[in-house]
Structure formats: C-alpha cells, structure tokens
Symmetry: C2
Subunit: 108 residues, 2 copies
Amino acid sequence: MSKVSSSREAKPRGIREIELADQVFSALAHPARRQILLSVHNRGECNAGDIAKRFECSWPTTSRHLATLVNSGLLKVRQNGRERVYRADNRLLQRLLSKWAGYFGEDC
Amino acid sequence: MSKVSSSREAKPRGIREIELADQVFSALAHPARRQILLSVHNRGECNAGDIAKRFECSWPTTSRHLATLVNSGLLKVRQNGRERVYRADNRLLQRLLSKWAGYFGEDC
DNA sequence: TTTTTAATTAGCAAAGTTGCTAATTAAAAC
DNA sequence: GTTTTAATTAGCAACTTTGCTAATTAAAAA
C-alpha cells in the first residue's frame, strides 16, 4: 500500500497512473475501508467519531483506516475544533474507474 | 484476499456483491497482478511461460500470482498438453466497475 | 485550571503476503 | 524408458497489514 507521494515535482504521466492504480486498489482492498469510503460518500461529511461508532472495530483501528484512505487520496479531512471532518474526494476513483472501464468495459 | 467460494449453494445477493468486491479489489491490489491481467487481456490468450518470461519476478512467483487471479475469477485457465493457457474473464470486473461507477461516477 | 471529550499515535502480537530456491508433477520428445 | 520441457507446489525468510490496548494530544467545558 503506497503512500501518496508528497513531492511537488511534476511526474511523467505513466508514473502518475501507476501510482493512481496502486493507491486506489490498495486502499480498497480492505472491506472496512470500502465500507468507510461508501459511508462517508453517502453521508457527505462525517467526523471520526460518527464513523468509528458505526463500525465494529475499535476506534483506533478505524482511525488508521481513515488515515490510509486520506493517504490514498480518496478522503479529504479538515479540522473543526477538536473534531476531524472527513469527506470523500471522488476524483481519483472516477479517473481510475473510467480508465479501467476503457480497458475492460463492454460499453460506456 | 479471499479465495472464491466453491460451494454450490445459492447465496444472497448482498453476500455475492461483497465477495465480488473483495475478490477483485484484493486481486488487483498488487501491481504485478494488474500487469499480468492487462497483459493477458490484451493478448487474448497466454500460457504461463509466455507470461513468466515477460515479468521480472521468478516463474514460481508469477505462477502464484496467476493462481490468485484465477481464484479471484479474473482469469480462466485451460490445460493444453503440458501448457496451461490463461485468458481473461472480464465479467466480474465489468460488474464491479459498473457498480462502483454507479456509486461514484459523474456520468455514464 | 482541572476535567472531559475527540481523536490520534505508540507499541506489540497475530496473521497474511511476497519472493526466492529446491522439489515435484506430468506431458512430449527422443 | 529416459530425458527434456512446462509448470506448479513446498518450504522458508522478510516484510506488511491488521487489530488490540494503553498512552498521548489538544480543544472544549466546567
């Protein structure tokens, strides 16, 4: 599971696309992370406690899944007082889905 | 990474869809497996040796990746003399992509 | 300023993944 | 029947992931 690069230099297109696939597929390889992502996406915005409450695993474990999703670029987070508010950023996923639909899709 | 179930009983829809996501995302979480899948898909059919030759890692390692892809349902294999011929089966991936495009897609 | 609340980080054990080489299986060629 | 070829399986070490509890950080409330 690769952490999203923080370097500011431009990267060749091929590299970016390999990283894109790696970030997204790795992040989505765990069922809890898929659930979390879908849940945040559907609810619009969620703080960590709301999310942790709704899952079986411990809060710290959820917290780590959240960090993984943020690192992959699939979630954005914003601090609000002592809460952290998470929101889905669909762009990476949309890029990846349309790319792979291009490879494998029968239509679209 | 869950092995695809071999039981013959019908399963509730929800379960099947969770397994679908698990199989596909887990299988695609490794870059070598993505490369192998794309390569087999593009070439139509490939035997194990052809595939192993074109990748850096050892043949047994490639062989295990192939087995993982077959278990996930993304590849089919057929024995031909002493060769094993692999072919991509796009159906699972298409189902998953359109499902997730439904969740996250901006268009389509 | 002390306590409560929201959340993460630290640290660790269990489990899973990956890659290698060596061993094995089984069909084909000789 | 022996050898070669195609491929997998076995076994093992290194690494990563996951989950837990305990400790920590920092904002809000009292």
